[in-house]
C-alpha cells in the first residue's frame, strides 16, 4: 500500500522517519528513491543525511537548525509535489556480476552449519524444492534470468537489498533459524524475496548458493570502482548475475588480488517507470525460464 499522505514519526530528537507506505513493492521503493532525490534537490536546511529504505526514509537533521515541525512541513510539501509515478525516471547504473553458482566455499559454509543443525536441507536443494523448480540448473537460469533493483543499502556496510525486476524470476526463501555465525565474503544468498551479495565475511541468515569474486565493498578503496565510494552499489542501480565457471571465477579473483580488476558497469542509463511498466505488460507470466 502506498499512502496518500506520508506518515511522519520521530526517531528521537535528531531523526525523523517518513513512511510512504507499508509493503515491499517496486513501485513504493521507486517512490522512496524519487522522494530522496527531490529532498536533496530542495536543499532543506539542517539536513544531515537521508537514508532510504524499502518503504520509508530516515531523515537525519540538526535540531539546532530546523525543528521537527518545520522539517515535517517541508517533507510533506515535497511529497505532494511528486504526484503519480507516471513519467518518473531515475539514474540507474547496470552492473554485471559474475557468479560461480554452487561453489565449494558456500558449500563448506552450509556443511559447517549442518554439522550443528542436522535437519537443515542444503540451501540449493531447499530453494529448488520450495520454489517448484526442476533442479539446480533451473535455479541458476531463474536466478540469473532477471535484472535486480538495488532497493536499499544497509544492515552491513555496502550490503544491497536486491529485488528481481522480472516477476517470472521471483523466488522466495525463509531465513535461517538460528542464523549462521559466518558467511564467506562475496556469497550470493536470498531471504524472503530479496537477493543479496555478502560484502564481507559476516554472520547471516539468507539461504546461500553461489559466490561472486567481484568485490562490492572496499574500505581500503584499492580498486578503481571504489575511488568515489566504499560501496559499489547505490540505491536505484541494477544488477545482473552472470553465471561463470571456476576458471573465470579464478581469473577475476586473481585480478582483484592484483588490484587491477575493472568492474563491468553500464553507467549512462536511466530507469523509466513507464518503459518498465510497458515491458511488464508484454510479458507472459506463464512462461518461465
Amino acid at each position: 500500500m502506498i499512502y496518500e499522505e506520508p506518515v511522519l514519526k520521530p526517531g528521537g530528537d535528531r531523526n525523523l522517519l517518513v513512511y510512504l507506505g507499508d509493503e515491499m513493492s517496486f513501485d513504493l521503493n521507486f517512490l522512496v528513491h524519487t522522494y530522496a532525490a527531490r529532498i536533496r534537490e530542495a536543499g532543506v536546511p539542517g539536513l544531515v543525511e537521508l537514508i532510504p529504505e524499502l518503504a520509508s526514509l530516515l531523515v537525519s537533521y540538526d535540531p539546532d537548525r530546523i525543528s521537527y515541525a518545520d522539517l515535517g512541513r517541508e517533507l510533506k510539501t515535497i511529497r505532494a509535489g511528486i504526484g503519480a509515478l507516471e513519467g518518473l525516471e531515475l539514474p540507474s547504473r547496470l552492473f554485471n556480476v559474475p557468479v560461480l553458482y554452487f561453489d565449494p566455499w558456500t558449500e563448506a559454509c552450509v556443511d559447517d552449519y549442518r554439522a550443528t543443525i542436522k535437519d537443515k536441507e542444503p540451501d540449493p536443494d531447499f530453494l529448488v524444492r520450495i520454489n517448484g523448480l526442476d533442479d539446480r540448473r533451473h535455479l541458476i537460469r531463474v536466478h540469473s534470468g532477471t535484472e535486480y533493483w538495488v532497493a536499499a543499502l544497509g544492515f552491513w556496510p555496502g550490503l544491497g537489498s536486491l529485488m528481481p525486476l522480472d516477476p517470472r524470476c521471483r523466488l522466495t526463501a525463509p531465513k535461517y533459524n538460528p542464523p549462521r555465525t559466518w558467511t564467506p565474503k562475496g556469497t550470493v544468498g536470498m531471504g524472503g524475496s530479496v537477493t543479496c551479495i555478502y560484502p564481507d565475511r559476516t554472520p547471516g541468515g539468507y539461504q546461500i548458493f553461489g559466490i561472486s569474486p567481484m568485490p562490492i565493498w572496499d574500505p581500503a578503496q584499492r580498486l578503481e570502482a571504489f575511488r568515489d565510494s566504499l560501496a559499489l552499489f547505490r540505491p536505484g542501480d541494477r544488477v545482473r548475475f552472470v553465471p561463470v565457471d571456476r576458471e573465470e571465477h579464478d581469473a577475476v579473483a586473481a585480478k582483484v588480488e592484483e588490484g587491477t580488476y575493472l568492474h563491468p558497469e553500464v553507467g549512462y542509463q536511466t530507469f523509466s517507470i513507464d518503459a518498465y511498466r510497458g515491458w511488464l505488460a508484454g510479458l507472459d507470466p506463464a512462461r518461465r525460464f
Binding site: M1, K9, P10, G11, G12, D13, R14, N15, L17, Y19, D22, E23, M24, S25, V48, E49, L50, I51, P52, E53, L54, A55, S56, L57, L58, S60, P63, Y68, A152, L153, G154, F155, W156, P157, G158, L159, S161, K175, G192, S193, D200, P219, S229, L230, A231
Partner: protein
C-alpha cells in the same frame, strides 16, 4: 607530533581508538562509531588541552597498560577506572603528567563501564571518512581497524599539552547515577503497533542490562513481552508481529526482536532491518548507556519532543560549563 609515543603493553578487554564518530555514511550501512560516552571523551580531551573531538582511547570494563615513550598530559573520564602512573594512583576527571618511560595502568573498575583516556595531542591514526573512530566489525578506521593488541605503537598529534593537576568538580561529572537508571525515550517509529496496556507496561517495568551489551547495542531483559495491535502482516515483512518491512534503525532506537528483549542500538549499530522499534532513547541519554554494566536495573521513561530537546540543551550547557571551568 610524537611518533610511536605510546606502546601497548597490555591491551585491556576491547580498547579502541574513538573520537566523536563518523556521521554521514549511514546510507551506505556504515555506522556512526565514536565514543559510546561522548561527554566523557570530550571532558577528558578538554582536561588535557585537546579539542573536545580529538581521538582518545575507549577502554571497556578493564584498562590497558601503556608505556609512554614521550612526555604527555593524560586524563581519564567516564567510568571510575582508577589510573596509575608507575603504580602511583591518580584521580579520574583530573589531568596528570606521564613522563617518557613511565607506564600508565589501571586499577579494577569501581563504577561505570567505559573509561576514556585522553592524551595531549590526541591519538594520531589516519582519518577515515572524516573520523579516527574504530569500527572493528567492518575493519574500518582507528588503529588498523581493530581493537588494540599488545605491541601496538600509537602516535600522538601536535597540540600544546595542558598542565597537570586540572580537575573537574564532581558536579561536572556525568554518569548514570543510582539504580534504577532512567533512560528517557521518545515513543515513535512503530509505537502505534503496541497496545496501550502493553506500552504502559513497557514503561513501568524494570529492565536489566543483559550480558549481550556492546557497541552495537544494549540488550535488556526482565520486562513483559510486548502485545501488538492486531494486523495482517504486509508483504515483505516477516511473519512475527515484531517484524516490519525493512526500515532504517536510527541511533538510539529501541528494537524488540520477537517482542521480548529490547535492544537500544548504539554507535556501531546495523543501519536497518526488519525489527519494529518502539521509540528512541533521547540523544542526551545515550552517553549514560555507555556506562551501564550488565545486570544493572533500568527504566524507560517517556518524554515528549520538548523534553528531549530540553535534555539535549542541558547536556550541551553542562559541556559548556566544563569548557568554562577549564578556560
Amino acid at each position: 607530533m610524537a611518533v610511536d609515543a605510546i606502546e601497548v603493553v597490555k591491551p585491556g578487554l576491547a580498547t579502541t581508538v574513538q573520537d566523536l564518530g563518523r556521521p554521514g555514511f549511514y546510507h551506505l550501512g556504515i555506522p556512526l562509531s565514536g565514543a559510546m560516552d561522548q561527554f566523557a571523551l570530550a571532558a577528558a580531551n578538554m582536561l588535557v588541552g585537546n579539542e573536545p573531538g580529538a581521538a582518545g582511547l575507549e577502554a571497556v570494563f578493564m584498562g590497558p597498560e601503556l608505556l609512554f615513550r614521550a612526555d604527555a598530559t593524560v586524563a581519564v573520564c567516564g567510568a571510575e577506572l582508577p589510573p596509575k602512573v608507575d603504580g602511583a594512583p591518580m584521580e579520574t576527571w583530573t589531568s596528570f603528567a606521564v613522563k617518557a618511560g613511565q607506564v600508565l595502568s589501571f586499577d579494577y573498575l569501581k563504577a561505570g563501564a567505559r573509561g576514556y583516556i585522553a592524551v595531549s595531542g590526541g591519538i594520531d591514526v589516519p582519518v577515515v571518512l572524516g573520523s579516527r573512530s574504530t569500527y572493528p566489525l567492518g575493519g574500518l578506521g582507528g588503529f588498523e581497524g581493530r581493537a588494540l593488541a599488545a605491541g601496538d605503537k600509537l602516535s600522538t598529534g601536535v597540540g600544546a599539552a595542558a598542565r597537570a593537576g586540572r580537575k573537574l568538580p564532581a558536579e561536572l561529572w556525568r554518569g548514570p547515577g543510582a539504580a534504577p537508571v532512567e533512560l528517557r525515550m521518545l515513543p515513535g517509529l512503530y509505537w502505534h503497533r503496541v497496545t496501550e496496556a502493553s506500552g504502559a507496561r513497557f514503561l513501568s517495568d524494570t529492565w536489566k542490562v543483559a550480558p549481550e551489551a556492546d557497541r552495537i547495542g544494549y540488550r535488556f531483559r526482565g520486562g513483559s513481552p510486548l502485545e501488538y495491535v492486531p494486523r495482517e502482516q504486509p508483504f515483505g515483512a516477516g511473519s512475527d508481529p515484531s517484524n516490519i518491512v525493512d526500515a532504517c534503525y536510527p541511533y538510539g532506537s529501541i528494537q524488540v526482536p520477537g517482542g521480548t528483549e529490547p535492544i537500544v542500538l548504539h554507535r556501531d549499530a546495523v543501519s536497518g532491518g526488519g525489527y519494529m522499534m518502539v521509540g528512541t532513547v533521547i540523544s542526551a541519554d545515550m552517553d549514560l548507556i555507555g556506562q551501564l554494566q550488565p545486570h544493572m536495573p533500568v527504566k524507560f521513561v517517556e518524554v515528549d519532543m520538548a523534553g528531549a530537546l530540553a535534555a539535549r540543551k542541558a547536556r550541551a550547557d553542562m559541556l559548556g560549563r566544563v569548557a568554562a571551568h577549564l578556560a
